[in-house]
Amino acid sequence: MNALLAIVRRDLLIALRRKSEVLTALFFFIIVVSLFPLGIGPDAKLLKKIAPGVIWVAALLSTMLSLNRLFATDHADGTLEQMTLSPTPLGLLVTGKIVAHWLTSGLPLVLLAPVLGIQFDLDLSALGVLAGALLLGTPLLSLIGAIGAALTLGVRGGGVLVSLLVLPLYVPALIFGAGAVEAHVSGLDPQGHLSLLAALLALAAFFAPWATTAALRVALE
């Protein structure tokens, strides 16, 4: 357990010293969200309707961008190798890295999204549901994304390849996450969507570190 916290602290410290990486992904999120009205037109009613989908897709893409940060530097400088050989189970260390990744790329989205939602004229309660859905969804994105990042470690065309592998797997999160907000806006109860999202998160929290660890060992052979 100590080791897990140590890894989280370590990665957070490194992220703090390389703020540009974290901030770039966040600005990407903001820019992408802003592109949609520019592409579609300023019709307020239409924008309000597409807002949940747009914000969620932007969140997916922003998470994708930040995935290469997860293992690539550790792989390049040899610290990943050392983690594989440490007395602490690799699965635990991987979980720690994913937690740190979420704290630096997912949690900011949860906090930022409601602010952007205001641009789309979503009301306060809808923004609350949006934040809640993202709170459940972004860890899910980090967990699934970690598998993709581990599989493509050191591989040619890694960045785009990760997107190809991971985006299809992100579809359920997108559907339930955006669906929750849309349901709420239509006057329905988002409970169903959010519960399914929570269930997926629980499933991924159990399986994803395991798959990621296997993929990392394959990558380090």
Partner: protein
């Protein structure tokens, strides 16, 4: 003294389609060390990586304390310290932070005073609080080597440990390895240098 034993039998490794070496066997007991020699590309690093369990050999078995290392997983990690070609330090962190985090991953907490003492021993006085990327290659190497002092592992597997070190540091490291062996530890090294340590055997690939 404690009966720690590394035993390797019938080991062979391939890289791509080339068989690097086959039917390699040896045993290592307390106080013994192995010098792996060979030209560049002969397979020294591959052998070491197989010995630590990073890659599976094509054939053969590696046992630590009688059990295959594959089955030991983290327990083997506790008893073994591998320092390879990579710098294996985080450039954004200071030597102090690097050492303390490595210790925590190894399962022990190191307080500031202890860590600073170790770093001084490795000639990093005055550099403890500087992010590693500002250090010279030799200093970076010494940050990595400082783990030898904090990790209590009987088996050291070191790939070219003397790279980028000046004469003083080489002497210090040889002294450390000697003390480690005298205390019942074991070591496997690759190095182009001759090492004035007793109880050694050589393997040429």
């Amino acid at each position: 003294m404690h009966g720690f034993m590394l035993s390797v039998s019938g080991l062979s490794c391939v890289r791509g389609e080339r068989r690097l070496f086959s039917d390699l066997s040896f045993e290592l007991g307390a106080g013994e060390w192995l010098h792996v020699q060979g030209e560049n590309g002969a397979g020294k690093t591959t052998l070491l990586r197989a010995l630590v369990g990073l890659s599976a050999p094509a054939e053969g078995e590696i046992r630590w304390r009688g059990q295959p290392i594959r089955d030991l997983a983290e327990d083997y990690g506790r008893d073994m310290l591998y320092l390879g070609h990579y710098g294996a330090v985080k450039e954004e962190l200071t030597p102090l932070e690097n050492l303390r985090f490595s210790a925590e991953l190894d399962g022990r907490t190191l307080d500031d005073a202890e860590a600073i003492a170790v770093l001084h021993r490795f000639g990093l006085k005055g550099r403890e609080e500087l992010p590693v990327r500002f250090l010279s290659a030799g200093q970076k190497r010494r940050v990595l080597l400082s783990r030898l002092a904090t990790r209590q592992s009987p088996l050291w597997i070191l790939d070219e440990p003397f790279t980028a070190l000046d004469v003083k540091a080489v002497d210090m490291l040889s002294g450390m390895i000697g003390a480690h062996l005298a205390g019942g530890g074991m070591a496997i090294l690759t190095s182009h240098q001759t090492m004035p340590l007793p109880g050694g055997r050589a393997i040429k690939l």
